[in-house]
Symmetry: C2
Subunit: 374 residues, 2 copies
Amino acid sequence: MVQTSQISSPDQAIKPGATIGILGGGQLGRMLALAASRLGLRVHVFAPESGPAFDVCTRHTIAAYEDEAALTAFAQAVDVVTYEFENVPARTASVLNATRVVRPGADALAKTQDRLVEKTFLNNLGIPTAPFHQVDDAGGLARGVAQLGRPSILKTRRFGYDGKGQALVREGSDLAVIYRSLGAKPCILEGVVPFVKEVSVIAARGINGAFAAWDVCENTHDHHILSVTRAPAAISEQSAVEAMEMAKTIADALDYVGVIAVEMFLVEDKKADGAKVERLVVNEIAPRVHNSGHWTIDGAVTSQFEQHIRAICGWPLGSTRRHGRIEMTNLIGADVHQWHDLLGEPGACLHLYGKHDARPGRKMGHVTRVFPET
Amino acid sequence: MVQTSQISSPDQAIKPGATIGILGGGQLGRMLALAASRLGLRVHVFAPESGPAFDVCTRHTIAAYEDEAALTAFAQAVDVVTYEFENVPARTASVLNATRVVRPGADALAKTQDRLVEKTFLNNLGIPTAPFHQVDDAGGLARGVAQLGRPSILKTRRFGYDGKGQALVREGSDLAVIYRSLGAKPCILEGVVPFVKEVSVIAARGINGAFAAWDVCENTHDHHILSVTRAPAAISEQSAVEAMEMAKTIADALDYVGVIAVEMFLVEDKKADGAKVERLVVNEIAPRVHNSGHWTIDGAVTSQFEQHIRAICGWPLGSTRRHGRIEMTNLIGADVHQWHDLLGEPGACLHLYGKHDARPGRKMGHVTRVFPET
């Protein structure tokens, strides 16, 4: 963990009793609402349809993200606006921001919604990413493949998550077919990073520049969906420090306020003498609380959800100290039917999101286990 | 802590996604609702007026506890009914129970609403209480004082809390005036117990008789209102075991389901050789989650709120293991203005109840500090 000293004044702060406005009604909004409630705040959720957060919030608005009258009324009814997903349309953020401060701010959204913009931003900060090539048509894809080779990964620039909006360009793949399979949208071709593990840094930055990161965690995916997060990550101390420094560089560059997640690949290079050297490559930034930070609810002094609320309220950041060695397992689809066994397992901390249908691939809940540090 | 083995079947259990009905909309209902939400349950609060729990529940009903049509509609809309306060009218419980199971059951309410019934029940179980005398008029008070001496404490049999409904009978007190000062209601006169400290046991009993108690905690009051709870209590191991056994005896006798709090006095008797011997006297039973159990949210594997939800849903009870040495401080009235300093104190876990007016004597929130075990 990394934590910088901070100066915080109650004068700049949103007061207990105030209302937090959250765009998005999913499980992240739900857990943000629960954390805000613990701290005496009210929560107003804005979403196009009912979702898990609606059950625990003080008020909700059901309207489209393009409904400017509804957005303005919502902004007037709250004291600060935040969001649980990065694909908030720029126009939505700007309409809201005309009435109430939106945290994290518009720059964080602009830089993270588009993979091309994001990678360019990162490289300009001196932060390594996968090599990439802009693809605007099948010809651009051919030029990209000529440069990055096969296999490489074609991704839509916007609206991708959990492996959606991606296609692998293999030996023999028909480039025109692949480009069309992603809807012939603006894309980015990424070189394959030969990583040995995926890690993430969950961190927070306050309105006064204070910064706090939880220990780097290590993520295992199944069918492109996060399956297990372990903290701390089994990586070198030097890599851990470097990962947290990268997150701080990114947050500072965005003048960020709130919790930010930075997903990274760990690559092991072999030196001439056979020794292995670790190297980090940033995969993507999420300007929000993140699934790989859910372990902080039970496994750290301050959860990512409470920390996000603290940050956007202009409050002092809380301690990111871990309680032990942590394992967080997502309950995807039918996994949720283990609920009764998990309740009977001493020390297993069960979280369910209140979703009705346990459809395949759907995040239904998670379970966190905290073990004594070894 | 004490925890008995348990057998629990998902068939008897209320399922995630179900709705918990809570009578009462205060901070206890609020914290119950937050715990239920974490476990994927919905919450419907029934109360005569809006309160802190309304901000975090899925649905609410505002109606009198005597409104039988509203009670029945509420019961039909939920899967199990519970309550945050012991003064639920018997008729209310019976109307609800005609439609849905009420946990804890009617016997727990009947035995704990009336101080005379409660003390008689306890003595019949062989559990010591303060000596007491039934008082139905000023003459009864005179007979009681003749028996128990002065000082002694006159209390209304029903509806007392935080020192309300009590009067001290001193040397020279006018008995008729004192009796009238409590409204000339049915009363009980209690002998003064020369206690050295006040402790409480917070425990839970499941539908299958499983029992789990957190470590005994020690309570300090200020103007009759709980001020600080420390866990574990600085009492002998023998007293701690005895206290938890008393709680189990009580819960078993009530065929109790849910979290129960038993407040006790610790008395030190001096033996002929000058050695001190500890002795426990039960003060009162609360058939609900309790202020002296708030520390379990941050200080134990399972909080009293989650445990109550587990118990009333027929789920396995969770572990009551402590995370360290605990101190919980209530924020009463203007204490709540410390919120910003408390947020800046590393490791202080702040809970605010979302109440608007910080009136004197009003419980506005609490803060829990967890220290390494010494």
